[in-house]
């Protein structure tokens, strides 16, 4: 045993710092942040393995946060202390905050350097639009989702419905749900994910052809007939189809236990739901009931990679990783490992990437069919953007609990959101 001398004690911190010095002298090394490792880890690991073969001189370190919310906090905190990662994958609706605060960098010039028309790389106009905020290309879409309907084919059959011909409009869906609800034995007809954020409300609003704010984003635009019709539809789910008042977690548990006829939620949960259901019953998915066949649209959820590196070498390396992860190869890996929709037109169109996968996994197909009517998830301007979504959820709660009519809830929702919009002089 050697005695621990004072000199040795002083030398210890220096010794601990040595590996950091060694690392800094190597080839380019970048830090990449992403959220929800429980959903995404496999896909990023697969992409990193492919990327390492192509770019052996770039070392990638992953940093993760359990969810998008904490991911946004991490980046905002680190931007205050100057410790930003080089690349970060954030939820679509949070990108606007980073664009408006000057943390995300404009990717349009970088894409132009590579190809005069980004569409030749697979970045079609629609796909680029998913991550355009604050007047710039704030990110490149990595994973996309849209809302779909999951249903229990066994319960549909028991209630006298035909699982092969699931109703395509809300009148039919509500009638079928009411029949399932009447089966008794603690079985409920349907559940609509109204209470997480504004995403599923915007599915109803966009479905009616409505929109959140007006063109110059100075006033609400959802308070018109489309918005009222959306809230009325929510009320009909409760009154006609007996939609229970559940938290999202409780509703998913009830569905997996075979006690819920249908559940409307993001396609990103297909993999998890299928695992939870197992062999309890025959699980099916189908597109959202169509509200307005011409003007109707659906919101797109998911994540986009945004570039935050300032050092030119790291910036170039981070851009290479972002390009690989959103390119056709990376996107094919992402889809297979997560269940999200691809965000590269080449991966979508060329059957060599995902054709076989979709043939073997029909549960994923419902969302693919909805790609043509998918529009970006609307993010509100200004510092209150996230609070606006909570205001909408709170007012929908009043409808689900039966304490307000759609008219009352809509009036309050409009006036409360107006107060939260940035004031323009």
């Amino acid at each position: 045993m050697t005695a621990f001398t004072r000199r040795a004690a002083f030398a210890l911190p220096a010794a601990l710092a040595l590996p950091a010095l060694a690392r800094a002298q190597g080839a380019a090394e970048i830090t990449v942040h992403y959220a929800q490792p429980n959903i995404y880890k496999e896909s990023y690991d697969a992409i990193l393995a492919g990327f390492a073969k192509r770019e052996p001189n770039i070392r990638v370190n992953f940093v993760t946060t359990p969810n998008y919310e904490e991911g946004a906090q991490l980046l905002l905190r680190q931007s205050a202390t100057g410790q930003l990662p080089d690349l970060s994958y954030q939820g679509f609706n949070r990108l606007r905050i980073f664009a408006e605060r000057g943390i995300a960098q404009d990717l349009a010039p970088l894409l132009k350097q590579e190809a005069a028309d980004p569409a030749t790389l697979g970045y079609s106009k629609n796909l680029l639009g998913l991550a355009q905020f604050g007047g710039m290309q704030a990110g490149l879409a990595y994973a996309a989702s849209n809302p779909v309907c999951y249903y229990n084919a066994d319960l549909v059959k028991r209630a006298g419905g035909d699982p092969e011909n699931f109703p395509g409009d809300w009148d039919g869906v509500l009638a079928l749900a009411a029949k399932i609800d009447a089966l008794g034995d603690g079985i409920d007809g349907l559940w609509y994910t109204w209470n997480g954020d504004d995403w599923m409300f915007s599915a109803l609003l966009f479905g009616h052809g409505g929109r959140m704010l007006n063109d110059d984003e100075t006033d609400v635009a959802f308070a018109g007939p489309e918005g009222l019709a959306s809230l009325t539809l929510l009320q009909r789910m409760v009154k006609q189809a007996g939609m229970p008042n559940l938290t999202a977690v409780a509703a998913r548990q009830a569905f997996a236990a075979g006690k819920l006829g249908m559940i409307f939620q993001t396609t990103a949960l297909v993999r998890g739901t299928a695992a939870g259901v197992g062999n309890n019953f025959a699980l099916r998915t189908t597109g959202m009931p169509v509200i307005d066949p011409v003007k109707g649209r659906l919101p797109t959820g998911g994540a986009a990679g945004m570039l935050t590196a300032k050092d030119p070498a790291k910036r170039a390396a981070a851009m290479k990783f972002l390009r690989y992860s959103t390119g056709p190869e990376g996107q094919a890996m992402m889809v297979k490992a997560s269940g999200y929709l691809p965000c590269n037109q080449i991966a979508i169109d060329d059957p060599q990437y995902l054709g076989a996968f979709y043939r073997e996994n029909p549960l994923f197909v419902a969302s693919v069919k909805q790609i043509p009517i998918s529009v970006p998830w609307y993010a509100f301007p200004g510092t209150n953007s996230v609070r606006v979504t909570q205001t909408m959820v709170d007012n929908q709660a009043r409808i689900v609990e039966g304490t307000a009519t759609p008219e009352q809830a809509m009036a309050d929702m409009a006036s409360e959101v107006r107060r939260l919009l940035p004031r323009r002089s």
Partner: protein, 304 residues
């Protein structure tokens, strides 16, 4: 470190070396206290008077603007009221329950260790994990509780998702959480009561168990009860985990509590200045409770 240590050391009567050694030995604790407790608290106080937002470029001194907004904010009023309801239900529930159980366990002859361990389990278990278990127990359609209610033909409340029952459900979980901790404190208090007092009371004519409790146990438990009361109230004001996991303040703010509102303002809406103002309100409540214990009530409950 040294400039803190030297002036104090110079004034001491003990040999200089000894005083220096004392300061050096307590330096890590003092340093940690300054860095980990005092500085962050002062920084929070300072932040409460600014409009700082996470990720924003700068901040402005806005005086009492945040506090003025607190008074106007309906959401804050709701969360304050809900917190009071929670404290008002959890404190008496968990104290009276713990006292009754402690008397039963103390009076019993067998299985004391077993019962003590059983009721203490909630305290050592992870609240977040336990919340998941409660989520299942209280599930409106597949939960065992509602299945039981169904079998006796009673209604099946939506425990955690209806605004009329959500605070009741959270309070019940809170009582379950705090009961074991209070129980152990009461058991310790009970064993400290001298047996002779009971014999003396019996000689003096206190025959019934209730008389013995009223005349001996309850007064002698005074200091313990006071401590339990304060610590339970502080623990109840601190409620956060169950709300964050089970209800996220919903539906329509029916389960917003003080700390969850603070978290939401600061880390969901990124308004750190406003969030710091809420933290100060929380700090004031906790300090008031501690002051109540040390200054007002402490004098009245010590007999010996």
């Amino acid at each position: 470190m040294s400039d803190m240590a030297l002036p104090a050391a110079a004034g001491a009567r003990a040999p200089l070396g000894e005083a220096f050694a004392a300061w050096m030995l307590s330096a890590p604790a003092i340093l940690a206290y300054f860095l980990m407790l005092l500085l962050p608290t002062l920084a929070t106080v300072a932040l409460a008077f600014t409009d700082y937002e996470l990720g924003a470029d700068g901040l402005h001194w806005i005086g009492f603007e945040n506090f003025a907004e607190l008074l106007r904010d309906r959401a804050f009023a709701t969360s304050l009221r809900n917190t009071l309801v929670y404290v008002g239900l959890v404190t008496p529930g968990s104290i009276l329950g713990a006292l009754a159980l402690a008397l039963l366990i103390e009076a019993g002859t067998r299985g004391r260790t077993f019962f003590r361990a059983v009721f203490f389990l909630p305290v050592v278990s992870l609240t977040v994990a336990m919340a998941a278990a409660w989520q299942y127990l209280l599930h409106p359609t597949i939960g065992p509780l509602n299945a039981m209610l169904h079998s006796i033909g009673a209604g099946q409340p939506e425990w955690l998702s209806s605004s009329s029952t959500v605070m009741l459900s959270l309070s019940a979980i809170g009582i379950w959480e705090n009961l074991g901790f209070n129980l152990v404190l009461f058991l310790a208090g009970l064993t400290a009561i001298p047996r002779e007092l009971y014999s003396a009371a019996e000689v003096d004519g206190a025959r019934s168990a209730w008389e013995r409790f009223r005349l001996v146990t309850w007064p002698m438990l005074g200091p313990t009860t006071l401590f339990v009361l304060t610590i339970t109230m502080i623990r109840a004001v601190r409620v956060f985990d169950t709300v964050a996991v089970l209800t996220q303040g919903g539906p329509n703010k029916a389960s917003q509590v003080l700390l969850y509102t603070m978290y939401e303002e600061g880390f969901t809406y990124f308004r750190l200045g406003y969030s710091a103002a809420i933290t100060l309100v929380f700090l004031a409540i906790v300090l008031a409770l501690m002051w109540l214990q040390t200054k007002v009530l402490d004098k009245r409950v010590h007999y010996v």
